[in-house]
Every structure is written in C-alpha cells, then in structure tokens.
Symmetry: C2
Subunit: 492 residues, 2 copies
C-alpha cells in the first residue's frame, strides 16, 4: 500500500465479494421481506435484532487449542483484547440471545429475524461475502409439532413471496431415520465414520447420477464420462440394498413414505424415533391439508444432515427454466432448515429443543424474475425541467403540487440546456416531463411531455419530419391544470 501523502487520492473501489445495490432491486426485496414477515407474524412470531458482532467464543468459531478465530468469519480484537466476529448466520446469535435471556422469555419462543450476515470466504460470481438472511425459529418446543408448523409456514412464506403452488415443494427428511438406516446397514460403529460420510455424499448425487450411478459409488466406485474415477464406499451388495431401498421409500403420499420407511429402519431404535416423528408430522400436515405436493417427505434430502439433530427440510423449485442456450438453469434451493436441539446447550449445559428455517431472498427474486420473465424496471419520478434557473422555486412548487397529489416528482436542479435535461429525464425513466419556458410562462401554461408514449412513438415513427410536426406525445395546459393533466397521462 502506498504511503499516504497530502496528495494521496484513494481509488474508488470495493473490497472483493461485496456489492452495491440500487433502486428497484432493493424495493423488490423490501416488498418480499414484508410479505414473508407478514406470514411469520401471522403465525405468532415476533421480530428480533441482534448486533452484527458477537464474541467469537459465543459463535463457537475459535480454532481448536488456539485463541485465534478460525477461517470463515471476519474477526477483530476489541480494546480489551477480546475477539469479536461478525455473525455468519442468524442462528448462532439466536442461541446466544436465548441463553442470555432464558428465564424472561416465553417458551416456546417464536422469533423471526431479517439481517445481514458475513462470511469470510472466497468470493465468486454471484457468491458474496455479505448477504441478507430471513430466518424464523421456534425455541423450546420439541418435535414433531413445531417442525410441522415450521414446514407449513415455510410453504406459506414461499407462496406469499410469489411462487405459485405447484412451482415449489418443501422436502422433509429426518437425521434419525438416516442414522437408523445406517445402523440397519451395519454402519453404526466408530470405525465406519468414513463410510457413513461416503454414503451421504453418494445419496446427495441421486439427482445427477441416477440409481445406477449411486449404486456404483456405494460399491467399488464409478468412472465418469471423462474417464475420471471416483472411489466407492465399498459396501456389500446387501448394505447397498438398504441404502437404495431407503431412498426408494420416497412416495407420492407422505403416509405411504412413512409406511415404507418403517419397514426399512424400524428395527433400529434411532430409526424408529425418526420414523415416528415423520409419521406425526405427516398426520399434522394431512390434518391441515398440506399434502405432498406442498410438503413432501423425501428421504433423499442430505443437506445439513450433519448439523441438524432431527427433521431437516429444504424448499426447491419444481419448474425448469432454460438459459439463452437451452441449458437448464439451476437455482439451488429456496432455503431450508431443521431441528438443532443442542445449539443453546453450548451455553446452558442443558438441551433446549429448537427448530428453524432460513430463506434466501435474493435467490428467490432471481428465480421469480426468470420464471415470469418479469423485469423490475420501474418508472422514475415526474421531472419538472428547469429551463430558467431563476424560476427554480416555481418549478419546485410544481413538483410539490404533484407530490401533494401522491405523484412522485422532482424539479431539475442545476444549470443544463433543454437537451441535457430531457436526457436526464430519460435516464431517470421519468414517465412525464413538465416544461415551462419563457413562452409558456407568458401564456400561463405548462407543457406536459408523455415520455412513455414518446418512447413508443419514436420506435414506430421513422420519419423525423412527421415526428417533429405532430409531437402527439406533448401538449400544453393552463398552469392550474398541471396536476390534473399529469394524472390523466399517468393513467394512460
């Protein structure tokens, strides 16, 4: 870094992995936040805000055996040498908050939180180091009813955000059924830890490789089209049969899935606990008419299984969209969550049951835009041109009159000629420009220029002469009819 001198001029740039956002993108997100928050509030959830900083030990982000924070979080030392880190999610701060205020809180405690989180990771395209999460959690309520509620609320929130029923599905599995399946397959021992991980990884590839590919990965291994070889988990055929049967137990009806699942994992106590939870969830979902087209028990869900302690869920889009070249676009999941009964335990020493869900709003907006082909470009304010700078107070008064009538409006400020001011109005995507030069003022008139119609006409009319003569997109009205005339143009 250059030594700073008096003439030092910093470069205007942002740190890697951070971004600016402007205008309609923010407005669209605000609207979506509001819709999701409304659903959460209706379910009895209240908003919580926690600080950006937490003590690093409270986040559990110290490296083992050293007093320095690990990678992945932004950390610094406070005046008193204590390490603080910026929160990397909203769940760890919730655990700290609950532990700190445990006795005062109503239990179960339902809260939602909209907040920025920071990840000190390698940035990439569309992969930022700062983003917003929208979380809802129930702390202090055990499975299965709280989990069913979160799944139904998740589905409601996705629909409220604008995803039509049928275009998404909330998929549910349970950590304990997977553990039970691994037990039945003889993979419960400490010596089988690597194999268990390998099985989860293979299961996660069902969508991409199909059943045959997963079976190869469970067995000796798999050579892909490029000739690359992936080592297998080396399960016996019998063991692989259990894994494959487990995944194949996913049916179109949740009750049928539970019945098939009970046959596979019922011999394991852990598996039995898991299947019982899913059965009770399925009953609740059925009682409230959330069938498998909205919330489906799907045993191929692997995501987050290592973090969660019970039910896990994620919401995915069920439609496919192609990019310009006809290739399917992958949106990834809309969000997900699950049960984490031991997070507050880190502080309290006692287990506090908790279950929650997190939605990625920017991904949701991107997917909806692609799906509907809708663009977010909104019209800007009405712009009152300031052709005679000395008359600016009068131009500002026109803008104020429009605003008083509920119309976004601004007066141009600064010295610029007519052409530049019209270009400015175009750049602002103004629907209407108001013009009052010397002539109009003498006559007590203003000219209303319909820029939307103007755009259409200039696309249609190729004859420049015809355009100039007609100017159908602009007309003069008496000064005191300004607001009325603009209203009429905007209503077109």
């Amino acid at each position: 870094m250059a030594k700073k001198q008096k003439s030092f001029r910093p470069k205007a740039r942002k740190p890697r992995g951070f971004t600016d956002r402007f205008g309609t993108e923010i407005l669209a997100e605000q609207v979506m936040f509001a819709k999701i928050q409304k659903v959460y509030a209706m379910y009895g959830f209240d908003p919580l805000e926690t600080p950006a900083f937490e003590f690093t030990d409270a986040l559990g982000k110290f490296l083992p055996d050293v007093d320095r924070p690990g990678q992945g979080v932004f950390s610094l030392q406070d005046d008193d040498e204590q390490w603080m880190s910026l929160r990397y999610d909203l769940t760890a701060p919730l655990a700290r908050f609950v532990a700190e205020n445990y006795d005062a809180l109503p239990k179960p405690f339902r809260r939602y939180q909209v907040g920025r989180v920071w990840r000190n990771e390698k940035p990439g395209p569309g992969r930022f180091r700062e983003f917003t999460q929208v979380d809802a959690d129930i702390v202090g309520a055990p499975a299965p009813f709280a989990d069913a509620e979160i799944c139904m609320m998740f589905a409601d929130a996705v629909e409220a955000a604008g995803v039509p029923r049928g275009d998404y599905v909330v998929r549910v599995s349970d950590r304990k059924t997977v553990n039970g399946m691994l037990e039945v397959a003889g993979l419960a021992g400490d010596d089988a830890a690597d194999q268990r991980l390998g099985v989860l990884r293979a299961m996660d590839k069902l969508d991409r490789l199909g059943e045959a590919g997963v079976r190869q990965l469970l067995g000796k291994g798999r050579k892909d089209d490029s000739g690359d070889y992936t080592d297998g988990v080396n399960l016996s055929d019998g063991q692989a049969d259990v894994v494959m049967a487990f995944m194949a137990a996913t049916k179109d009806s949740n009750a049928a899935t539970c019945a098939a699942l009970r046959n596979i994992v019922g011999k394991s106590n852990t598996g039995l606990e898991g299947v019982t939870t899913l059965e009770r969830m399925a009953e609740t979902l059925a009682a409230l008419s959330y069938d498998a087209s909205r919330v489906q028990i799907d045993l191929s869900i692997v995501r987050g299984l290592e973090y969660y302690t019970g039910p896990v869920f994620e919401a995915d889009f069920t439609f496919e969209v192609e990019d310009d070249k006809g290739r399917p676009i992958q949106f990834g999941s809309i969000g997900g969550g699950g049960r984490y009964d031991d997070l507050v335990k880190r502080f309290k020493g006692v287990e506090v049951p908790a279950v929650g869900v997190s939605i990625g709003v920017s991904r949701l907006i991107a997917a909806l835009q692609t799906r509907t082909g809708a663009t977010l470009i909104e019209r800007g304010p009405v712009v009152v041109l300031a052709l005679d700078k000395d008359q600016t107070p009068e131009y500002q008064k026109m803008a104020a009159e429009l605003r008083a009538a509920g119309i976004r409006a601004e007066a141009y400020i600064g010295g610029a000629n007519f052409g530049k001011q019209i270009k400015y109005a175009d750049k602002r995507r103004a629907p209407v420009a108001i013009i009052q030069g010397e002539d109009e003022r003498a006559k007590g008139e203003v000219t209303i220029k319909d820029l939307v119609l103007g755009e259409t006409l200039s696309a249609e009319i190729t004859d420049n002469k015809e355009w100039r003569e007609d100017q159908p997109a602009q007309f003069a009205v008496p000064r005191d009819k300004l607001v009325e005339a603009v209203k009429q143009v905007l209503a077109r």
Copy 2:
C-alpha cells in the same frame, strides 16, 4: 481468555456497546422507516445499499503517515493484507459509490439509504457502537435550490414520522456566513485559527449560558457557579460585538434574518456568498410556504460547521418534556446535515457538489413516546391452548383457520398444564386464549377466553369466589363458530 477444552462453555453475553432489540420496538422503527422512505421516494429519491465494509483508505480513516487505521472505526485486514473498515456513516460510502459509478449515474443523483453504521467508540448509556442511519443526499447539484429541497423534505419527513407541525423546527445556517463574520471581526488570518475555534465553541453555548455568558467567553473568560474558570477567546469589545450581532440577527422571519445578516457580513466576499445562498433558500422556502415555524434560518447553529462547506441544518424539537423529577429531558437533535462539496473530490480530483441529511430514528421514537406518553406494547397472537397433546394437529388447525381470517394465531406446542399455558398466553400478551379440553371436544365446542377483559375484571373484582362463579370473560361456542366468536371478542 481461558484455553478452550472439550467442556468449554462460553458465557452468553454481548460485546460492550451492542444491544439486542425485540418485538414492538423493531416494528415501530420499521413503520417509521417506511414513512420517511415514502417521503424521500416522493421527492424522486431512490434507495441505495452499500457494503458494511469499505477499504479504509476510501473512508479516509488512515492515521497520518502510518498504514494503520485510526481510532473510531472497526478495522481488519483482508486476505491480501489490505485494510478494510466497517462504515461509520453512510456519506463516505456514498462518495465512494458516486466516484466509482460517476459516468453512469444521472446527475443530479438523488439517493436515500437506511443502514447500520458502526463506531468504535467508548459506549455509554444510550450510546451504542452500532446504530441505524436514514440518509438522503443530492449529489451533483449546487446550492441553493438543492439545499432548500433537502430542508423542505427534512421537515416533511419529520412530520411524516409523527412529529406535529410546531413541535419541531429545521434550523439553517451557512458555513460561509460564519466565515464572513469571522473575517469582518478580523479573525481570518492563519494566526487566528485557535480564536476561530474558540468563537464557534462560545456560540454553541448560547442556549446554556445566555448572551452575557457567551460575551464573557468571547472576552477574558468566565467563572461558572462552581467557581471553575474557563479561559476566554480574548476578543476586543468591537470583535465580540460582531459575533454577538451575528447571533442576534436571527429573526422570526427568514427574510428579516437575511436582511440583518447582509448588514453584518456583506463586506466580506465569503460572507456575501453565504448570505446570497441563504436569501435564495429563503425565497424558495417562502414560495413553497415553508415559513420560519418549519424551516428557520438560525445563525446560532454551529454543529458540523467544520465538516460542511456551505449550508448546514439540524432539526430540533421545540417542546419540553420533564422526567419523573420535573427536570427537562434533552432529546438532542432529530438529525441534521449540510453541504459537502469536496467529499467526492478525494477520489475524483474534481469538486462534486453534494448536500444531504441524516435522521436518527431511534431518538425520534424515544422522543415521540415521551411526548405522547404512548407505549409501544402491542397485543400478541391469539393462543390456542394444547390441553391434550395428541390433539395438537386439531389445535394447529384452529390456529390456521384464525390466520386464514387475518388473525395472528398460534397453537401452544409442548407439554404443559393448563396454568402454565395460560401464563404463557399472558406473557405473549395474547388477546384471546382458545380452550378445548376433553369435555368441550365431546360437545363439539371450544371455549373462548377474553384475556383483555379478564385483565380488567381481575383488577376490579376482588372477591375470588365471585370471579370463579361468573367468569364473564369466557364463554363456549360450537367448534364451527370459532373464527366468528374470536372476531367478535377482538372487536370489543
């Protein structure tokens, strides 16, 4: 810090100067943000979001002659050793954004931003190291019209936030009139820098010390009631006369203030520039009917004069509120701003005119609550008790029916007896509890318990027996009349 072992249990606590906020406080702030943003949007402003982190050099926060960030900001080094800092306001990031995107932006560029900022300062009561700012700025427009617009918008925003007209005033001064006054008083030279600062400090004490006290500070010095002595600025009587006349030039009408001001500072070129700006602002304000009761030219404003380059303004409450002991409560200012023509210059090398305003929303809420005596406590959701845990899906269904009718509702989740669940409903400030035990279920009924009426009655009825017998606050209805009955109770 203790070495971390397997059994390490972190204490649930927050770093100093940071806070959690929950529930109605956040909702009140959201409502206020929305109202202020709506005003800004009506004036043609669009929202901007910038990252929490900026390069430290872009914030201008390096210590002179060393490559380490100064105090006051939270800073850390990125992987590539570059120093980043969390933004301490929203103006420095705006300058960086404008410099980075200068050619693409419409000019003037109007943006508002709601965002967290961080100050690495000593925390105190009500003084946090993280808070939210609501800013609006116009970049690329010179004085005076942009400044007048910002002042009017500021007044509109304060009113939209709920402060009645008459309860606040936006006070306006201009850096250049002060500089002109100092010039007229013979304090323009490099050797008078300390005296200039002393004059500004003395002016800032007009409210507290009155004219006589300020005059003492401008002269030899002042002994306060406790006997402590403050050194004076050692101005001659003639010099002090200029300063006192300057402050006394503030009149009830902006035009009168400008006329008085012109007499005092008109001999200085800088002063003349300043007074001309204020005159044009006064004309605009008058044309748009913002008289001195809303936006007043007030030459005693000192705050921020050193940072700004032209007009400065701040909004203050005009009412006095007393605390429990009858002492006046000081709310401080609602917010303020001014013109800073050289902020983007740091990047671009050329001057870019800019003017903006910042509102402190939490202070505004605190003041409004004190003023109106209103409390923010809102009712919570309707709580459906779960007396028979096995019936939870049915209880959840009742809650879902209420939500479908637009009523916030939740079913109790978890095993607890009747008393505990009623206590939970009270803690949640539920307006209504729904009860269906075995008896009610057998009869196809539910009991509606009006907790609001219940509170009132239990305050009035002292006879426990009478209370139990009457129970006027609860009644049974057929199951299919649940929603209707709750609606009626809520409408009470």
